[in-house]
């Protein structure tokens, strides 16, 4: 028995190399990870061998395909980060979410990323508020469902293989940024620094095709700074995206001059 145990131990130890290269089956991996918990020496060895395997990896570096970085950055902007281990209270969690969004606001160089950052955090914040106050009534539930559905739709556009970003200047002040995916027939719209409108009026987003203009949505009113993100689905080939100022409850047709008109 003693011999078996010793040979098992030696066996586990020699697995360090294979483990460091992920050259182990799933059961082997699990067994070795259990073994490492009680074997600081093994863990140290694996860590040092991984410095070597990392070099094997970097030696294989090659240029990344065009657009990959943009997709990754856009996806990160709507992906919540794990808190550090010390974070505990749910209340802090909710506040941390907002603070982090603020951090993005200051540091981001892409207007699009900056605006899109709130898509995920808006959903997260609604949920956090619900959790903190123990609210689970149906209207709150609907709000959560809507927020989640919308950030899911947004994520689908942002992570699409053909997602492309474009920006345009809004007449009267501000910048609009869109991420468009033709394969998903959808786009995500955000704007920054839009001129504030009187309470009776609001910004309305349109898709304009050969058959006429289709209203997409009223932009959420209020916040100076950043507006959106708003998802526009059902985009057809040849559509343009337009923005106008309309009565606050929306129009069926754009009545005022277009403040932006972007080819899609």
């Amino acid at each position: 028995m003693k011999l078996t145990k010793r040979s098992q131990l030696r066996d586990a130890h020699t697995l360090a190399g294979a483990y460091a290269m992920d050259a182990v089956s799933a059961p082997d991996r699990e067994r070795f990870e259990r073994h490492m918990i009680g074997c600081a020496e093994c863990a140290r060895e694996v860590a040092s061998l991984r410095e070597a395997t990392a070099m094997l990896g970097t030696a294989a570096a090659e240029p990344v395909p065009a657009g990959l970085k943009e997709r990754i950055m856009a996806a990160a902007a709507v992906t919540r980060q794990q808190p550090p281990a010390a974070e505990t209270e749910p209340v802090v969690l909710a506040r941390g979410t907002w603070t982090r969004a603020g951090g993005w606001f200051r540091s981001l160089a892409w207007p699009g990323r900056l605006a899109l950052a709130t898509a995920g955090t808006a959903a997260a914040a609604v949920i956090a508020v619900a959790v903190v106050f123990g609210i689970a009534n149906s209207s709150m539930q609907q709000q959560i469902d809507r927020a989640q559905a919308s950030s899911q739709q947004i994520a689908v556009v942002l992570t699409a293989q053909d997602a492309r970003m474009a920006t345009g200047t809004v007449v009267g002040g501000g910048t609009a940024t869109i991420v468009m995916s033709h394969s998903r027939h959808a786009l995500v719209f955000t704007a920054q620094g839009l001129h504030a409108l009187p309470a009776s009026r609001g910004y309305e987003l349109w898709l304009i095709g050969p058959a006429g203009a289709r209203p997409v949505a009223m932009l959420p009113a209020g916040s100076p700074g950043m507006t959106g993100p708003v998802i526009a689905s059902g985009v057809r080939p040849g559509d343009h995206l337009a923005l106008t100022a309309e009565p606050a409850d929306g129009s069926a047709h754009p009545d005022t001059p277009m403040m932006i008109d972007m080819d899609l």
């Binding site: 020699t14 697995l15 360090a16 190399g17 294979a18 460091a20 290269m21 992920d22 050259a23 182990v24 140290r44 860590a47 061998l49 991984r50 410095e51 070597a52 395997t53 990392a54 070099m55 094997l56 990896g57 030696a59 294989a60 570096a61 990344v64 657009g67 990959l68 970085k69 990754i72 950055m73 996806a75 990160a76 902007a77 980060q81 794990q82 808190p83 550090p84 281990a85 982090r100 969004a101 993005w104 540091s107 981001l108 160089a109 699009g112 293989q161 970003m165 474009a166 920006t167 345009g168 200047t169 007449v171 304009i208 343009h240 001059p257 277009m258 403040m259 932006i260 008109d261 899609l264």
Partner: protein, 200 residues
């Protein structure tokens, strides 16, 4: 259609901010943990090509390699706060995530039996590792150190790392007992580590 707004050339992604040259990866990861997207951009500039290249070595298919690269980078973004500099370099942390994801991807899509069959007919990839390698100081060093291994050690390492094979598969491919392959893999990595002058 009257165009009343000016716009950038359509459908062109805007370039991100330039990465600070030679920025320390670990420091950038600490910034990413605080939600700094600019630091994440810098990390991608620095290590994205390595992640993509290593992943593609294992997976081969460019589209799938892109997907896995995206998963890896998002994992870095999500779990930046979990990175512990006391347990290894930031580069090793990211590359470990990358390699494991790539290996998990090929193993999940390929039935083991099928893979066993394919492995038996695969050629030894050492030349291909050496060939596509542009000259850079680091690559040169890796190449030299790989060259200092015995042939079986080198084959074991390249089949495992660049092909994503398990030691069992490598053993059947090289017709040597599994125990021997395990030992050679460990010996080979220790030698590589010492030759490359990395860690401990």
């Amino acid at each position: 259609m009257t165009t009343t707004g000016s716009q950038e050339p359509r459908n062109r992604p805007r370039p991100g901010p330039p990465a600070p040259a030679g920025a320390d990866l670990a420091a950038q990861i600490a910034l990413v943990a605080r939600g700094e997207a600019a630091a994440f951009d810098a990390i991608f500039e620095q290590i994205g090509p390595s992640v993509y290249g290593a992943v593609k070595r294992v997976i081969r298919d460019p589209a799938q390699s892109e997907e896995v690269t995206q998963e890896v980078m998002l994992e870095v973004w999500r779990s930046a706060s979990k990175f512990d500099a006391g347990r290894g370099s930031a580069k090793a942390w990211v590359m470990t995530l990358a390699h494991r994801r790539a290996v998990d991807r090929v193993r999940s899509v390929q039935k083991e039996a099928e893979r066993e069959r394919r492995v038996a007919t695969a050629e030894i990839p050492f030349d291909e590792v050496i060939e596509a390698v542009e000259s850079s100081l680091e690559r040169e060093r890796v190449r030299r150190c790989l060259g200092s291994l015995t042939e079986v050690q080198r084959e074991s390492v390249t089949l495992a790392y660049y092909r994503g094979y398990t030691y069992g598969q490598v053993a059947s491919l090289l017709s040597v007992p599994t125990g021997t392959v395990k030992t050679r893999m460990r010996d080979a990595l220790i030698r590589l580590r010492d030759c490359l002058g990395v860690a401990e």
